[in-house]
Symmetry: C2
Subunit: 381 residues, 2 copies
């Protein structure tokens, strides 16, 4: 052992080199742990869950957005809690809050503690929440007085009109929103009844969808007497805005002569803001805005968005979310198929589903899209 031979040295070093190379290339043992500290057993998971659970989450450039007053804090927080519990705690998307007045410290402290992404607070500039100079305020007041006398809901409200105009034409250009491409709108008194285990924003992007909704409904005609005629004039002057294979049959039963009052209920929207930011939509909104209908009538952002989406988009870019179990106020969407409800852990009552009932526009939507209604629909009319 006195003299180490060259061969011994070469052998030892060679062995180390070979062995080290093998070991270095062995993957570290990765144990996937869920939040209960339990190892995740992959053989038991469905492929989608597997994908979600092991891949580094690649989120879309998306945010939640809520327009809110300080006084609505607790009602909005209940909505946020429900959306977090059913969806966002898995994905941690940001949440933008917008207000025409500054948010209170309490509002910010409470909402930021509940939101699982980053919470951001924005003030709406006065030019987006007030009367433009081309509006005759006397005429606007006369209209409000008449609507109040006619008992039209929100008919006497100035702030409601500012809200509708803001949601129609400005929210997507707020500085805080410019950071994002997609949004999901959430309001007070919003319920989600099913577990949503897939990324809805990702679904929209991967399937080339631009506008998604949960509930459709007829509008009160007295709030929008001249909206359709104004739209028709805009289209006459700008015929190139009409998309091929659009969804005009959702909003008109006579090929566009008249409006059938159908619209997507905008308290739930998941959509791509590139559409609202497009020349087409911006021109349309400006045209509506200058006609004064937001103030001389009571045009809602819901029919405005819906008409634009139905005319200016190919219809396959519009998506109906039938698996979320959404409720706002008295109207709800609930999966009608029992097995689907159990699979998605939906705790809504199928009897509450509004989709195919008279005042809804679900039947018009399915017909316009050429979709087959779920077989259970006849029982929920």
């Amino acid at each position: 052992m006195a003299r180490l031979s060259n061969q011994l040295i070469v052998g030892v070093l060679g062995a180390f080199l070979i062995f080290y190379t093998f070991v270095y290339n062995i993957e570290p043992k990765i144990i996937y742990i869920n939040t209960d500290g339990e190892p995740i057993d992959y053989s038991a998971l469905a492929p989608l869950q597997k994908e979600q659970q092991w891949k580094t989450q690649q989120r879309e450039n998306a945010t939640f957005v809520s327009l809110a007053r300080n006084s609505e804090m607790y009602q909005l927080v209940e909505s946020i809690r429900r959306v977090e519990d059913r969806f966002n705690r898995k994905f941690h998307y940001d949440w933008v809050f917008l207000n025409d007045e500054p948010f209170s410290d309490e509002f910010k402290a409470l909402t930021s503690s509940i939101v699982s992404g980053t919470a951001k607070y924005g003030l709406i500039p006065k030019e987006h929440w007030g009367y433009p100079d081309y509006i005759d305020q006397k005429k606007a007041k006369a209209s409000r007085d008449k609507m109040k006398a006619d008992n039209i809901i929100y008919g006497e409200s100035e702030s409601y009109r500012h809200m509708c105009r803001f949601e129609s034409g400005f929210f997507f250009n707020h500085p805080l929103m410019l950071d994002y491409e997609w949004y999901w709108r959430v309001e007070p008194d919003v319920h989600i009844y099913c577990d949503v285990d897939y990324d809805l924003f990702k679904y929209m992007r991967e399937n080339n969808k631009t506008y998604g909704f949960a509930i459709s409904i007829h509008e009160f005609v007295k709030t929008i007497p001249t909206l359709w005629d104004t739209t028709k004039k805009f289209v006459e002057e700008n015929p190139e805005v009409i998309a091929e294979n659009n969804l005009i049959d959702f909003v008109s039963n006579d090929g566009g002569k008249s409006y059938n009052l159908c619209h997507f209920w905008s308290n739930f929207e998941i959509a791509n803001m590139n559409f609202w930011r497009s020349d087409t939509y911006q021109k349309y909104f400006d045209y509506l805005d200058r006609s004064g209908g937001f103030f001389y009538e009571r045009w809602g952002d819901a029919p405005v968005h819906s008409i634009a989406a139905s005319l200016f988009l190919p219809k396959d870019q519009i998506h109906y979310f039938d698996d979320i179990g959404y409720r706002h106020g008295v109207y709800a969407q609930c999966p009608l198929n029992a097995d689907l409800r159990y699979k998605n852990k939906c705790h809504c009552k199928p009897e509450d589903d509004f989709t195919f009932r008279g005042y809804s526009c679900g039947k018009q939507y399915f017909a316009a899209q050429g979709l087959v209604k779920p077989q259970e629909w006849v029982d929920y009319q």
Copy 2:
């Protein structure tokens, strides 16, 4: 290279042996991944979360329990959803459902899809939901008629009395419950407003607690005219049941002469069933039962449980959960301290807290326990 020398072979083998020994003893690099696919950074976690996240969950021998009718399915499921979202999805405790009638398939399918532990369904035997032969049913009916005339809530209901008697003396001996030591009772219209990130059952055991509550309140005296006198007679005959350092000052302002109507609101209880199964409590319940007060009056399980806990347990075994944010019906508990609310992600309104208001028994409880009220209590009276 024609002939490998012995030294070369020894060198190579020796190197492999040494290297292998080192490598074998190196811990595999373990990466802990949460359900979002993000590596868990331990340095950032608080000790309690760390403990939960990496340790294999050691659950207590505990279950949720809900007494329910098929007709209450959706209301109960909303409660279950809230308890799951705020607590049980982290711990996966079982859920026992009990009914005096068989559960429908729909009830079982929906609840088992929502519960994150194992759901079990039990039928209550008729001897625990009916009239014992020692009850004079004519006398019982006369009492119900009088209470109905006096407008006492549930005064005319037979099933309400069966429910109170069952919850007082039998639920903890139902075959499905015998598998467990601890329970947390949940009813329809139950809300939890705060995130509960620690195991409440484990907390009870580690801190030697037997009975836990969230809300205390005064009873309607007309429902329990002779409950206290009957209790006193029982105690006279069985003086050994009185515990040292008990909580008699919670239920009596005069050292036990009369009952002050204070009790723990039993729609929320986290407790150890060994107490209800003990000789002392079984004897007490049997004594009450044979006196007929469940039927000739309208004795609730809440005052029965509360009196037993206050007299037969050392007071330090009773625990007030002040950090859950609990609501049932019109009464709620909400942490009064703002920082605590944000830290625990509570979305309740502190103004809704009932603890120190007149009809509650919170002040009596704090006094009897020698606890210091939170400094904010004066603002919420």
